[in-house]
């Protein structure tokens, strides 16, 4: 017993809580909880000054205009955001091969074309073959959604329009993914997502702004 009493006295841990509290409060004050979310986009690379814009057939372009009064027009007629989503879906899928909507390109044809090139892209060939094997000879749209805004369009409206267009693509991907794999697109594995992404790429062209005519 006597020996034990001679040992090092226990450190008082009562202030430990205070120290921890101080640290806790420090972290509470200096940090934020917010998670960054947003719509990710890829900008087109800069165009060399003397080159012409690549020619796209008129039927393959769905032009979305937002004017300075924040009105949305698709190919010339005013629409709402919900209607815009539907228009984009219809434009891309084009189930009846309407000559006014986007053109189809079958994966098989794309594969042949890629193989016939002088320098075929092996990654693409592999991707197309995988699609043929797992999903079948589906078609891909040649369509591009062109989004143009006026300089005085409100940013909020712009984001809403972007959102509506992306929603159309996401819904198409989801539909296909449910049909093939029985799961929504988000739940798929990375390599499965890649195939579906190839069939429905988000093709939005953000042209430079100009004065959009108001009626």
């Amino acid at each position: 017993m006597a020996r034990r009493r001679k040992g090092i006295p226990e450190i008082n841990a009562a202030s430990m809580a205070d120290i921890a509290f101080m640290l806790l409060i420090f972290f509470l004050v200096t940090t934020t909880m917010s998670v960054d979310r947003g719509i990710t986009r890829k900008l087109p690379p800069p165009v060399p000054p003397n080159s012409e814009a690549p020619k796209v057939k008129e039927r393959n372009v769905l032009s979305v205009l937002v004017n300075k009064d924040n009105q949305v027009a698709v190919n010339g007629d005013l629409t709402t955001l919900d209607a815009l989503t539907e228009r984009v879906k219809e434009f891309i899928v084009n189930p009846n091969d309407d000559p006014n909507l986007s053109e189809h390109e079958y994966i098989k044809d794309l594969l042949e074309k890629e193989k016939a090139k002088p320098k075929p892209d092996m990654n693409k060939i592999q991707l197309y073959e995988e699609i043929l094997e797992k999903i079948g000879n589906v078609y891909k749209s040649k369509g591009v959604v062109s989004l143009q805004t006026d300089r005085s369009t409100k940013y909020e409206k712009y984001i809403q329009v972007q959102d509506a267009i992306v929603k159309a693509f996401n819904e198409l991907r989801d539909d296909l993914s449910k049909q093939i794999y029985g799961k929504p697109f988000d739940k798929l594995k990375e390599d499965q997502q890649k195939l579906i992404r190839e069939i429905y790429p988000i093709s939005i062209s953000e042209a430079e702004p100009r004065r959009v005519m108001t009626k």
Binding site: L24, V35, R37, T40, K42, S152, P209
Partner: protein, 156 residues
């Protein structure tokens, strides 16, 4: 003596506070893990727009931020009320963007540069003109991956 001893035993014993530090530490770790340190002090007012099709930004270390919005109240005398651009801690002009992009790239390992994302945090009342100008500047310096910051709409 025996009577006094008995009385003491009957009164409620003090609650042991020995586990208090542990509890606080758990809280501390929770906050350390789930939160992030504030990027910068906002010099501009930013009310993010709402969108439904938004995705989480992954790999925060590869994200740089560009803020656009009207200056805070205290700075309005100096900068006016029109939307301005904020890079890092300062209000900047359009021509500062290429330098800013270079700086941000230099801070990251060479291999990660193509994966960098520029997140645009823009106030929803801003006109598209300034946003487009910023986008054009980014295009010129080949910073093509961008992200429009937005938040989930409140459920009604």
């Amino acid at each position: 003596m025996a009577v006094i001893g008995k009385k003491k035993e009957r009164s409620t014993p003090a609650i042991s506070t020995a586990s208090l530090p542990d509890i606080i530490f758990i809280l501390l770790f929770f906050f350390m893990v789930s939160t992030t340190i504030k990027e910068v002090d906002y010099k501009v007012i930013i009310r993010l727009p709402e969108a439904t099709q938004i995705k989480k930004l992954e790999n925060k270390s590869l994200v740089s931020y560009i803020y656009i919005g009207p200056p805070q109240k205290a700075l309005q005398e100096k900068y006016g009320t029109k939307p301005v651009i904020q890079l890092n801690d300062q209000i900047a002009g359009l021509d500062d963007i290429p330098r800013f992009v270079e700086q941000e790239r230099a801070q990251r390992p060479q291999a990660d540069v193509p994966k960098m994302t520029f997140s645009l945090k823009v106030d929803k009342e801003t006109d598209m003109g300034i946003v487009t100008d910023v986008k054009q500047e980014l295009r010129k310096v080949q910073a093509l991956k961008i992200n429009y910051s937005a938040r989930k709409p409140y459920k009604k």
